[in-house]
């Protein structure tokens, strides 16, 4: 399963090589063009067969949140800072892979026996934590993981029935969907599919990809926040597992094009594909960068709901994954010039 392979690959922002390699191998010979740009985005293109074909930019980001080694302590620990947004509360007890060779390391905390009263009520900020790779001293640590070395959560993919767990579903699930779209039957519109870099540190790859692409419209494929745990207040779950792909109307970074949102919802309703509207105002995706490139790009974002993203173990529902693929495939088949028109 490609999702498993992608999920387990090492790829913090700026260091996406392993993910790029998997995708490149899967798509070699299956697309009309393929190239890598100055930031490391993997571009692929499939020519559309329709006479009135549009140029559609589709993106999924290859990078994941992780850590960067910024120093070493005397006992051989690696001092770290986050790459992208990481909640320090998930760190104590985590296992990580350090460097592309995936050297194992652990993040521990002070034993409960040795804590002062009240210490257990505090969260250790990341600057107080170290990764322990078992290095004997500072010199050994420097040798094994020099400053600038990156690390990611070390999590094996696993199927739990209708759901699967693993790391980096944000956004390897988008990569898997995008790869599947490229491997499908010849598309109506020309697909410029880009597996982007550096989304987690500021939507950087998508911006230059959209500049290169000059598309008629763009869609970001994502793994997005699901906050559907029991809560006291009757408040939005943002998205819910098992309720279908999540369509963005607005988030922190952009307002989706109304015509594209309608295309997606109408397609879903026509075919009976379940879907949900993601809680407006939450999060951000590559669409935030793409929509403001050059003269403006009508943009949308479609996502697979994922629980516990940006942590060591995420969870998604395979039916949402399948439905997201199908919704994208069918919507692209129904896209026309009129979808994008503004009065």
């Amino acid at each position: 399963m490609m999702l498993k392979e992608l999920s387990e690959a090492f790829g913090p922002s700026g260091n996406e090589k392993a993910v790029r390699t998997i995708l490149r191998q899967a798509l070699e010979g299956q697309v009309d063009r393929m190239w890598v740009d100055a930031l490391g985005n993997l571009h692929t293109e499939r020519q559309g067969k329709s006479r009135n074909r549009l140029r559609v930019l589709l993106t999924a980001h290859m990078d994941e949140v992780g850590f960067m080694v910024i120093g070493h302590d005397d006992s051989g620990g690696l001092r770290i800072r986050p790459i992208g947004g990481i909640d320090p509360r998930v760190l104590p007890g985590a296992i990580v892979w350090v460097g592309p060779d995936r050297v194992p390391g652990v993040i521990g905390a002070k034993p409960i026996h040795l804590q002062e009263r009240g210490e257990g009520e505090k969260v250790d900020p990341i600057r107080q934590l170290v990764i322990d790779i078992g290095a004997k001293n500072k010199e050994k640590a420097q040798e094994a993981a020099p400053v600038g070395t990156t690390a990611v959560f070390a999590t094996r993919f696993r199927e739990l029935g209708p759901t699967v767990i693993g790391k980096a579903f944000d956004d390897r699930v988008g990569c898997a969907i995008l790869a599947a779209l490229l491997l499908g039957e010849p598309p109506r519109h020309t697909l410029h599919a880009v597996f982007t870099v550096q989304e987690e540190v500021g939507l950087r790859g998508a911006r230059v990809a959209a500049y290169r692409s000059e598309p008629d419209c763009a869609v970001a494929l994502e793994g997005t926040i699901a906050d559907d745990l029991p809560k006291e207040k009757d408040a939005s779950p943002t998205t819910e597992l098992g309720q279908g792909p999540a369509i963005t109307v607005m988030d922190r970074t952009f307002i989706a094009h109304r015509g594209l949102v309608q295309l997606l919802t109408h397609t879903a309703e026509e075919l009976g594909i379940p879907y949900q509207i993601k809680q407006p105002g939450i999060g951000g995706t590559d669409a935030g960068a793409m929509h403001r490139v050059r003269q403006g790009v009508p943009s949308a974002a479609v996502a697979v709901p994922c629980r516990y993203i940006h942590g060591p173990v995420g969870m998604l529902n395979l039916a949402d994954f399948e439905n997201c693929s199908r919704l994208m495939h069918e919507s692209l088949a129904r896209l026309t010039v009129r979808t994008l028109r503004r009065e």
């Binding site: 009757d234 607005m250 109304r258 509207i277 809680q279 407006p280 935030g288 403006g296 503004r342």
Partner: protein
């Protein structure tokens, strides 16, 4: 001009949902422009081709207004909201909002709040449209609404919702009406999505590739009781921007406006605004850079449903722009 201002301020048009305000403005400028275009993000561009020998100038006023979006509908049909632009909870409580489909709602506040001494967060507000369940609620997640407040004029002062920035739109429209001859090719742009992320102006500017750009927008004042010090006052003339939170006006553009005001003896003020910004913050960075500036209309109570401007400042702004644009 008052009628235009009233019509503009009372029209629905939150960020990303500018169809209606765009139609109203299109109606106003259709006969005043040589060409009309709508950009991919929904900004309206009205082009006046000059007699030649001048510059290509972008004049930007954003047409979107702040508002709220339905973000969740609970079992009983109450609606939680997300802000479209800079919405303050204290001006929301007790306000009425209007959805695009005509549904009116009132904004309520959670009684079981965490800390009652704190200013409520937006997540503690909800919209009540009189529904009894999720099923009979006439609003769907993702629908947008604007604040409801009628326009009034009292002496020289004009008060309305969305004065930010329909007053800028009114200034551009009136400038187009009065501008007889110009050497310049002027793109009057009524921009979309300023309040959320300034993307309408950025993308329009890329398409136009102007030699210089001027935003017309509102600015704050320092003339209210216990307001923070700011040199701008209501009624002392339009303000020529030197700096705001995200931009330093290009000196040539700034002095071009100053010279125009001085030639026709329109009183003006210099503006240093410490919070907030305008479309000019993004136009200046487009392509290899566009010298950009801003002519501001002093406005009290910005981002509340009752924004107040002075008619003389508005008139002065039109006169400065007509003078500047008529000359080389």
């Amino acid at each position: 001009m008052r009628e235009t201002i009233q019509r503009l301020t009372e029209t629905f048009g939150p960020s990303g949902f500018e169809e209606r305000i765009r139609a109203v403005i299109r109606d106003e400028v259709e006969d005043l422009a040589d060409e009309l275009q709508v950009t991919p993000l929904g900004s309206l561009v009205a082009i006046r081709r000059g007699s030649g020998g001048g510059q290509r100038i972008m004049m930007a006023a954003h047409m979107d207004e702040i508002g709220v979006m339905a973000s969740y509908i609970d079992e009983k049909g109450f609606i939680r909201l997300a802000p479209l632009g800079g919405v303050y909870s204290i001006t929301c409580i007790g306000s009425r909002v209007l959805f695009e489909n005509g549904t009116m709602g009132v904004i309520g506040l959670d009684e079981k709040r965490q800390d009652k001494k704190q200013i409520p967060s937006l997540s503690e507000l909800y919209i009540d449209v009189g529904a009894t369940s999720k099923e009979d609620c006439p609003v769907r997640v993702g629908d947008a609404a604007v604040f409801v407040r009628t326009f009034f004029a009292q002496g020289r002062r004009l008060v309305a919702k969305a004065m930010d920035n329909r007053i800028g739109c009114a200034v551009l429209i009136e400038t187009m009406r009065r501008l007889q001859k110009t050497p310049h090719e002027i793109h009057f742009v009524f921009t979309a999505q300023e309040e959320t992320n300034l993307s309408g102006a950025q993308t329009a500017a890329y398409g136009i590739d102007p030699d210089l750009a001027i935003a017309v927008d509102v600015t704050g004042t320092g003339d209210r009781p216990e307001s923070r010090p700011m040199a701008v006052q209501l009624g002392q003339g339009p303000a020529i921007k030197v700096q705001d939170a995200l931009m330093i006006a290009h000196p040539l553009v700034r002095e071009w406006l100053v010279a125009a005001a001085e030639r026709i003896n329109v009183p003006y003020q210099m503006e240093v605004m410490e919070g907030g910004t305008t479309d000019a913050a993004v136009t200046q960075l487009v392509r290899a850079g566009v010298p950009s500036g801003c002519l501001s209309i002093p406005c009290r109570y910005v981002h509340s449903p009752s924004e107040m401007v002075d008619e003389e400042d508005v008139e002065g702004a039109v006169r400065v722009l007509v003078e500047a644009l008529s000359t080389r």
